[in-house]
């Protein structure tokens, strides 16, 4: 591979300092230092407080009292949470598969420069500009049987003959929520994948072409393997995002009908803000964090 960097003309012609490699470690640290500061101060420190809260009975005002491990023991006795775990896992599996497939499809469709392609990229990406809570309410209105536009439209096209209970049954509520999530996030993930696709050198494709590979072979043998780091990022975002799903259910389905769409974080939210059990909510969060870190470590190992 030849280096044809046009910008190299800007290189200043200084002579090399001698001990360049000596301090790679220190240099690495310096580059990472701002990250470390932000993560340490704004994440690790509050996280330590969450862990401490989880070991206490934590009233809104007044003194906390140490009660470990009561908050953790309670988790196993909470049937709402056990159901929520199962539901969230199901939701995550379906969403991740569909979202990855749709995003990859969109990215492949719009990766090349063609007339009008900018319009399509914008169209797919634009839903990401709507706040998630607002998007939930928007879908709630759009799918309303009484004044929403979807039912009359589907009936006019003879797709359905009567109003559909979009959030009226557990399965439909899940289906509608996934539609909302795909609408809102497919463009995001498409863009992540586009950035990854762009980093694959053209020469690799040309080489494969000249070796007589067909499109499918190019896709499976070149695009997918070289897209691996990007796919890993997208999968981690999708899996963690889905496991921590909140707004889509809190705003759009309210966890209903009849508690059939209650996600894990909704239980955390309920404990913290309806029951003011801040200690219990913190314990749930710690358990979720440990499980997610474990899961993602395994995922990253397999994807590296």
């Amino acid at each position: 591979m030849t280096l044809t960097i046009t910008r190299s003309g800007r290189r200043p012609a200084h002579t090399a300092p001698s001990a360049r490699w000596r301090s790679r470690k220190v240099q690495g640290w310096l580059y990472a230092a701002p990250t470390a500061v932000i993560v340490g101060v704004l994440f690790i420190a509050p996280l330590a407080l969450v862990v401490w809260m989880s070991l206490n009975r934590w009233p809104l005002l007044g003194q906390a009292t140490f009660n470990a491990p009561d908050n953790y023991r309670k988790i196993g006795e909470n049937p709402l949470f056990i159901d929520a775990v199962l539901f969230t896992l199901k939701y995550t599996a379906i969403t991740t598969v569909l979202l990855s497939a749709v995003a990859l499809g969109l990215a492949l469709l719009v990766q090349d420069r063609r007339p009008g392609i900018g319009f399509f990229r914008t169209a797919f990406f634009l839903p990401g500009a709507v706040g998630f809570a607002a998007a939930g309410l928007l879908f709630y209105g759009m799918l309303n049987n009484d004044f929403g536009p979807i039912d009359p439209l589907l009936q006019a096209l003879h797709v359905t003959s009567e109003p559909v209970k979009w959030i009226g049954t557990p399965n439909m509520a899940l289906f509608s929520t996934i539609a909302l999530v795909l609408w809102r996030f497919a463009g995001f993930n498409m863009l992540i994948l586009l950035t990854g696709l762009q980093a694959i050198p053209t020469e690799v494709y040309e080489a494969a072409r000249s070796d007589g590979a067909n499109r499918w072979q190019v896709f499976t043998k070149i695009t997918l393997p070289l897209l691996r780091p990007t796919l890993a990022l997208m999968l981690i975002l999708s899996v963690t995002g889905s496991l921590l799903a909140f707004d889509q259910f809190f705003v759009f389905t309210n966890g209903g009908p009849d508690n059939s769409t209650v996600s894990m974080v909704m239980v955390v939210y309920r404990d913290a803000f309806f029951r003011f059990d801040l200690g219990g909510a913190a314990a749930l969060s710690v358990v979720l964090l440990v499980a997610l870190v474990g899961l993602n470590t395994v995922m990253m190992r397999r994807l590296r």
Partner: protein
């Protein structure tokens, strides 16, 4: 090189900090105590913003020494906001809260004891009784009524006329309500747009607000006075459920009643699509100007009248450094001046029962009616109200849905779960 790199890393941080300094002032952040007049901070939820805003504005323009700074917080997120502020000891000087949550807040110690201050008010005995009851814990008083929102039946006079009903006569009992709604449905419902009635069938707070008054009107109760025992499996409640269940099964309610989570439940009536339904009294002022609306108290199956006295109470936070200034504002909001010239003038429900007949009340008899209900209505008391009745994952919503749409035989068992939740 090393030093330069460190410098660059620092530079990024500095740039942030510099930007920081510029904007901190510009954004109006920083609760620095200002010189001169005392400034007290007040929070309210968006649902009752209009009333709070009017009161604060009038107070600020007539008081030079104390100024109130009002912050409006989205309704659905008011609880987390209060919880976070309390956890960080950063509550505002004064905050309003949905009256239903007040017992819980009080028991958590969020409000300051103002018993002695209230005792000095000449009109202390005419403050909205149910709000005052919820603001009392162990004989001590913590809150004043702030804004009131009552559940009443609205009927659409034009639809009544078209359906051949007497447009000037609303229902006097829940059974009459059901008959009139059914007539509207049968006469006008063929286009699929107009419906006899409507209710929020997947919304715990809506059930409480619109169904319970029928129980009270019939002389029944939904909980024991301590709020630790649910009585929602008793005949007074199940009779009411049955009538509504019947309406739903006969398709007299709008088709989306079963799925309605709250966002659109008050939206159908102003469109002229509903014959008669329970509505919050505060929406009366928001109805289309040319719409002819009758208002009548919610009744029991065979008559009587009652209402759910909702709305916000307001108290001084336990952490305030300015209790005197805060009380000056609070006591002013229930004074004759504020109640008549601000609340009554804007057709809001008054926080005091002795002012129900005032110089503005003659303008609209419906407002007089609503005001007269304040003394008759109830606000149920329970420490664990929110997590039991409002929370969509709480046990009440499951009970109400089984009773109206599902298997009514599950009610006794679910009622036991409500009691369990109340006693947590």
């Amino acid at each position: 090189m090393r030093r330069r790199l460190a410098g660059i890393s620092l530079l990024g941080v500095l740039a942030l900090t510099a930007a920081a300094c510029g904007s901190g002032g510009g954004g109006g952040g920083g609760a620095k105590p200002s010189e001169g007049p005392a400034t007290i901070t007040m929070w309210t939820r968006a649902a009752t913003q209009a009333q709070s805003e009017r009161l604060v504005k009038a107070y600020n323009s007539s008081h030079k020494n104390i100024q109130v700074k009002l912050t409006v917080i989205p309704t659905d997120n008011y609880q987390p906001r209060i919880a976070a502020a309390a956890g960080a000891k950063q509550l505002p000087d004064v905050f309003a809260a949905d009256v239903i949550f007040v017992p819980n807040y009080t028991s958590q110690g969020l409000f300051m004891d103002i018993t002695d201050r209230i005792a000095k008010l000449p009109y202390k005995d005419s403050l909205a009784p149910s709000h005052m009851k919820l603001g009392t814990l162990d004989g001590k008083q913590y809150t004043l009524p702030h804004t009131l929102d009552l559940s009443v039946w609205f009927w659409n006079k034009d639809l009544y006329q078209k359906a051949g009903l007497d447009p000037e006569k609303g229902p006097k009992s829940l059974k009459e309500f059901a008959q009139q709604a059914t007539t509207i449905q049968e006469k006008l419902g063929k286009d699929g747009k107009v419906h006899g009635t409507f209710f929020g069938g997947n919304c715990g707070g809506c059930y409480v607000f619109t169904f319970w008054p029928s129980v009270w009107a019939a002389g029944g109760q939904v909980m024991n006075p301590e709020g630790t025992q649910s009585l929602n499996d008793q005949a007074a409640m199940t009779d009411v459920f049955k009538i509504w269940r019947d309406l739903y099964e006969k398709k007299v309610t709008g088709p989306t009643a079963k799925e309605e989570q709250g966002p659109t439940w008050t939206g159908f009536f102003p469109k002229g699509e509903i014959g008669v339904m329970p509505m919050p009294s505060t929406t009366l002022g928001l109805m289309p100007k040319d719409m002819k609306i009758g208002v009548t108290p919610i009744a029991g199956p065979d008559g009587g009248e009652s209402t759910f006295v909702g709305g916000d109470s307001v108290g001084i936070s336990a952490t305030t450094k300015n209790p005197d200034a805060a009380w000056d504002f609070l006591s002013w909001t229930v004074s004759d001046e504020a109640q008549v010239e601000i609340m009554a003038k804007n057709k809001d429900v008054l926080a005091r029962t002795d002012l129900a007949g005032n110089k503005y009340s003659a303008e609209d008899p419906r407002v007089v009616l609503i005001n007269s209900l304040v003394a008759k209505g109830q606000t149920p008391y329970a420490l664990r109200f929110g997590q039991t009745f409002n929370d969509p994952q709480g046990p009440w919503l499951r009970l109400a849905r089984e009773a109206v749409f599902g298997d009514a035989s599950k009610v006794p068992q679910l009622n036991a779960e409500i009691t369990k939740s109340l006693q947590q």
